[in-house]
Symmetry: C2
Subunit: 510 residues, 2 copies
């Protein structure tokens, strides 16, 4: 490690530390903070975010970056040093275009808008939330203007979450999805009587559910020496550094499924963050115009890891061949008489519903697509904030055949826009798609992976992900990493094939 690179790493380390501290403050806010701490926490988070930005865009950082670039210019571009310098350059150039005042105002606005959303949602009171989302949008428009020229005004937002990805690419992919997924869900809904999941909707002891989830994710490879699971209103994962990657979860005492799949989903994220190479730790990366204390390729690449564990593993026959007897022994009353096949079908039951976070694998992307279309219209100026609820309801009708009875179960259901996450939703659907692309390649490299999983053996699975995805952190742009691994561009085909095969079998579609 050369002296200039060392200096750059030190400066980057300080920025990382601030972002990492903010990560803990955010985690605590959702887990243990007493209600009285909210105001002080908003102040502290705003200070950490704006200081991280200030330190990052300072001239001394730029000078250290230039000196390090000179120092590493003859290194293998695949080396960690070259990768770190290239990623920092990319994030530095973006951050430099953004005034610190914008960052501070954006954090303050998000704090107020978030609090307004917390109140407006249960009250189904969109008008109370409207001025906040207008302010968020105004700031986003200013942000976009920092990045002129662009192909589409949505591109700079998307780039914050998916470095290098363009609106046009997402549009193309989503129209492929639409063509297959909408009729697939329609066909399934006509055969809804084919799957019974009533035995999942009875009381299941809370702590037994919690413990079963812990057992599963420990087996898969989530390292509890460098992590923990706590209760929170919504499941999430937080990477403070590669030695401290936490997840949260909640348990519905009257339903089996959401808690376990929540644990597996978040463990997918966490195993990624725990697997980032030590050499890449303590390097900040830009996400959603904010510097983050984790260094992954992108949100979609992250989501590919969580969706893979949750769905491709957790909702597979192979996985339950290994775990169903154990689950039956934990819940003999509820499952003792239920056959593995009936259980497998039940956990894969498809149902069109209003709420994204409760959506099943087959309908999930439809929720994303409607949000994506609304976002692009908002940003493109073809939709006003006042018309959001109506636009939401008509898209829901179009994609899901349902009409939200109120805004709580409609446009107000998600937190994202309140905290300025516009351009974020597509990453969920892209995560599903990437997971299937990776799985296709992984199954070629490890032909007996299903057999291994059906024996409860995850070593080669996690080893493959570690070698191909995790350890590289944010060294490569997500689409470059994907191509490097699979040899292919982003493509919906493997995902659509997976989905069609799986549900045709379950629902007896021709």
């Amino acid at each position: 490690m050369g002296p200039h690179f060392g200096k750059l790493r030190e400066l980057a380390g300080r920025v990382f530390d601030l972002a990492s501290a903010a990560g803990l403050l955010g985690w605590d806010m959702q887990t243990y903070m007493p209600p009285g701490g909210a105001d002080g926490r908003a102040h502290a988070l705003a200070t950490l975010a704006s200081l991280a930005h200030e330190l990052f865009v300072r001239d001394d950082f730029g000078e250290a970056l230039e000196a390090a670039e000179e120092e590493v210019k003859d290194l293998d571009p695949d080396s960690d040093e070259a990768g770190i310098v290239a990623r920092l350059r990319q994030d530095f150039d973006k951050s430099r275009r953004v005034p610190s005042e914008w960052v501070a105002e954006s954090v303050r606005t998000a704090g107020l808008a978030f609090n307004a959303w917390v109140k407006a949602r249960p009250a189904s009171d969109f008008p109370a939330f409207q001025p906040h989302i207008e302010k968020v949008l105004e700031l986003k428009r200013a942000y976009i203007s920092f990045f002129e020229p662009y192909d589409s005004p949505y591109d700079p937002l998307l780039d914050d979450f998916e470095p290098g990805l363009k609106l046009a690419t997402v549009r193309g992919i989503f129209s492929e999805l639409r063509e297959v997924q909408v009729p697939l869900v329609q066909a399934i809904s006509e055969r809804s009587e084919a799957v019974d999941d009533s035995f999942l909707r009875v009381p299941y002891d809370e702590s037994a559910q919690w413990d079963f989830g812990l057992e599963v994710i420990r087996d898969i490879g989530y390292d509890f020496e460098r992590g923990r699971q706590d209760k929170a209103p919504h499941p999430f994962s937080t990477a403070l550094n590669r030695g401290d990657v936490r997840i949260t979860n909640r348990v519905n005492p009257n339903r089996f499924g959401p808690a376990l799949f929540g644990s597996m989903h978040e463990a997918g994220h966490a195993i990624y963050s725990q697997g980032i190479a030590p050499a890449l730790d303590r390097i900040p990366s830009l996400s959603g115009s904010t510097l983050e204390g984790s260094h992954d390729a992108s949100l979609a690449m992250h989501e590919s890891q969580s969706r893979m564990l949750e769905n491709l593993v957790g909702r597979s026959r192979a996985f339950w061949s290994a775990y169903y007897p154990r689950l039956q022994s934990v819940f003999p009353e509820q499952l003792g008489d239920i056959k593995l096949d009936a259980f497998y079908r039940a956990i894969n039951k498809v149902e069109r519903s209003l709420i994204r976070v409760e959506a099943d694998e087959a309908t999930y992307n439809l929720h994303i697509m409607l949000r994506f279309e609304i976002e692009t219209e908002l940003i493109g100026g073809n939709l006003s904030v006042a018309d959001l609820p109506q636009a939401w309801n008509s898209k829901t009708e179009e994609y899901l055949g349902l009409t939200p009875p109120d805004d709580r179960r409609g446009v107000l259901q998600d937190v994202h826009w309140s905290v300025g996450y516009i351009g974020y939703f597509p990453t969920y659907a892209l995560g599903n798609i990437i997971a299937a692309q990776l799985w296709q390649k992984l199954s070629t490299d490890l032909p007996d992976i299903e057999a291994q999983i059906s024996r409860g053996n995850f070593t080669e699975l996690i080893g493959w992900l570690h070698k191909n995805v995790h350890r590289h952190g944010g060294k490569y742009k997500p689409m470059d990493l994907l191509k490097r691994i699979t040899g292919q561009e982003l493509s919906a085909a493997p995902y659509l094939e997976y989905l069609t095969d799986k549900y045709s079998e379950i629902y007896g579609l021709s």
Copy 2:
């Protein structure tokens, strides 16, 4: 609020936010952090501490301070604005003398020394710890040199914890203590059979102990909307801001007492921090060469609040008149047949022991005095680090009549020196003394306070403390605040009178 004061408050707020974030990182380190997080946490804490210092000593802070001084110069010196500006000036002038490199090195050294201490203590391995404490001491000597000239090299250290207090004053007070407390403990030990506490040393259900403590501190006035109690290896309190003041505790399942008195002690600290006036929130203050996210008068003033609740209230007859029946109903097997008087005597049993944190009210200060004498000799250059264990053992013999069988139960028992807290120990004894001085005045102002407490009514007690102590935060120097409240200088007399009366009665001394 004038514009210059507003600007100063904004800059101070950012420093506060960093210190407050560090507070959460420290709390988490002791409560929920997985082991793998230790390295990253040490980095993050070092960054937060050194950045807080850098922001605080910047020229723009000095300019804002000057402008604010000009703006408030005609205000009542007792106003919050004038108090804040004066305290910031005092802390700024101290911090300005300290180079940022020293702060960064000091935090790094403390991190390493702390880890070494964690390993050395259970192994009773002083030689492994020795180089670390030597490094700590070397840095402290450099720190002292920033403050030349001084009356004593110990003064700049003491001043970090007790603004304005001098070694000579502490020496005088401690020699008064010694004269009375050493023979008192001697006399008690000759009548040790007079008190039986065997019924406290039997199994007491852990969660029942925990809940009883919560009930008591809620009654006294700890606000759980702005606080919480979690498990930690050692009890402590952390003020992140006045809306989020947390305490921790532990429970010994085979002994009644430590958990409850731990909760009451920490609640005493927490009620102080929760009671600081909103106008004084989000102002950092210097403590132990580090900027802290809380704004209290001093450590001794803080300790006076915790010791008052723990001892003057929690180990009083009046308190147990109210709570003993309730405690008996929680633990009928252990206490059903034990009379209130026997219980009162048992919780006040005096026993000379080796470990400070387990010491009773009568012997506690002896532990402090021996540490104080060793510290002043170390700093004065009359004692080398290599001779520490021997000096410790001979002082323990002198004050307590006991010889530690190993360094674990001797010189390695306390964490303080590892993290650079030299000049801190005296604040514990001063806290006891101040508590008694405040109590004397409080009893004059509220003549029926004992009767109120014996009815379980703490409203006037906490109201008096709030009005006289808490709300002022760090606006006054501790000795000025004490004089303002009691009309007196710091004096050991009320404390020694309290101690002598209490134990003469319990042990039947003449």
